[in-house]
């Protein structure tokens, strides 16, 4: 195919992403898992890229987990979503940026539903007004936070202190990118690269100098999947899914995994420990696991932020081997020191998987 044709086709796989003035909607669970991720995103946008981002403390969960677990009805979800849009409207913003992939899927689904059924939107406007006295405008632009980082990846890479290069060998680090299922699978045209060629993370990793691995189970789900995780007895479905991915990626010897969803890094991180405990198997080098980072944490790390300031000590799988490969200057003794210099407590060191 001639290159002009490729460029024309590729244009069909792009999405519009607003330049500035973002209304940020945090994830309901991410603050518990990797609390540095959202902080790093806001720091990069506000302090490095000088963007206008509003982080509203009044917003709530989008109800995504409850919706996908059949605990709340679609009407409830739509009314909660309408309230988030009302908060955005009240603050004078029109570009909505959710931190969570499930939220991104929920907002996209609701907006699509309203576009096709205006009578449902009218009903929800009535519900919201009756319940809270609020009114709203639908967002002019809806983009996930990883879309924003992707959009400004060259600027971020230009300001970066480090590259995804092994400082000892000079070789690019091998990166597994894992994109949340709700990013572009339900609505392919809402994701960069669509469902077929999603490049929101691979583009970022390559911009930082890494080499993206293409492995057989690359597009398989991480195993989070709400229903199979919420009930303890069903978690075997979740961990089996994750294990299949680890088995598939391990022969390619990845140096790290990057993700853009709240659930994926948590499960890909924690299940490595659980698999080691249950079956004695590890997937990294020398009895260690494969470090798992969110795209914000990776961007912050490349920018030269202190790994302990952006929450790397909260990871189940030790990130020190990765920091050593990149050549990051860090102080191991400060790993469990909080921002005030006081100890935040050390976890019990597992015996089944090497934790440095």
């Amino acid at each position: 195919m001639i290159s002009e044709g490729k460029k024309t086709l590729w244009n069909d796989y792009q999405k519009e992403i607003a330049d500035d003035k973002y209304f940020y909607a945090r994830s309901c669970i991410r603050q518990n898992f990797f609390p540095g991720a959202e902080k790093t995103f806001l720091k990069i946008l506000k302090e490095e890229l000088k963007k206008d981002v509003y982080d509203d403390p009044r917003h709530t969960t989008c109800t995504g987990i409850a919706y996908h677990s059949d605990v709340v009805s679609l009407e409830t979800t739509m009314t909660v979503v309408a309230r988030q849009f009302a908060l955005m409207t009240e603050r004078g913003y029109s570009n909505f940026v959710p931190s969570c992939i499930t939220s991104f899927g929920i907002y996209t689904e609701v907006l699509e539903l309203w576009a096709h059924h205006p009578e449902i939107e009218d009903k929800i406007r009535h519900f919201l007004l009756k319940a809270t006295g609020r009114e709203f405008k639908v967002p002019e632009n809806l983009a996930h936070s990883s879309d924003i980082i992707y959009k400004y990846r060259n600027e971020i890479a230009g300001m970066s202190k480090y590259r995804l290069i092994n400082k000892n060998t000079g070789d690019p680090l091998r990166v597994v990118e894992h994109i949340g299922c709700h990013y572009a699978r339900m609505f392919p045209h809402k994701g960069i690269g669509g469902a077929e060629y999603p490049c929101v993370l691979s583009g970022l990793a390559e911009t930082f100098g890494g080499e993206v691995i293409d492995y057989p189970e690359r597009r398989a789900c991480c195993g989070f999947g709400f229903r199979q995780y919420v009930v303890q007895a069903n978690r075997g479905y979740s961990i089996s899914c994750s294990k299949r991915k680890f088995e598939s990626m391990a022969p390619y010897k990845p140096d790290l995994i990057i993700t853009n969803c709240p659930g994926c890094p948590y499960f890909l991180d924690s299940w490595q420990y659980v698999i080691a405990e249950m079956e004695g198997k590890t997937y990294g080098e020398k009895g260690q696991g494969i470090p798992v980072l969110t795209f914000e944490e990776l961007s912050g790390l490349m920018m030269g932020y202190n790994p302990w300031d952006i929450g790397f000590q909260m990871h189940q799988i030790s990130v020190e081997p990765l920091l050593d490969k990149i050549g990051v200057n860090y102080e191991p003794e400060n790993k469990f020191c909080g921002s005030q210099g006081r100890s935040i407590g050390k976890p019990k060191i597992p015996e089944s998987i090497k934790y440095s």
Partner: protein, 109 residues
């Protein structure tokens, strides 16, 4: 090993690139009517061996065609060659000859 209240399931991924499909090719070459199978399961439903064992013709031939032949020998040993499956097959597959060809391929005759 620790228990967490759930178990890791065995992976059922079928590796077409690694599996040996020669046995399936042999059977299909000698009994091409198997190409007509629509996986309706009528054969398994009427099979007297299925009633008293875990053997199912539909499942067995599907796994064979995917190269999953680990339990094939014990599976086809259950068949009594009664031919009821031929009578009910809506696609005219000569199921009895399929079994016979598998047994020839596995040197079971």
């Amino acid at each position: 090993m620790n228990s967490f209240g759930f178990e890791i399931q065995k992976d059922n991924t079928i590796e077409y690139d690694k599996n040996d499909l020669s046995l399936a090719a042999f059977v299909l070459r000698h009994e091409p009517s198997l190409y007509n199978c629509i996986q309706c399961g009528s054969c398994s439903g009427t099979c007297p061996a299925s009633a008293i064992s875990s053997y199912q013709f539909r499942k067995m031939q599907l796994l064979m065609r995917r190269g999953e032949t680990k339990h094939l020998r014990e599976d086809v040993a259950h068949c009594m060659l009664c031919g009821k499956c031929i009578l009910v097959c809506p696609r005219g597959v000569n199921t009895r000859n399929v079994i016979r060809q598998i047994r020839i391929a596995l040197n079971m005759n």
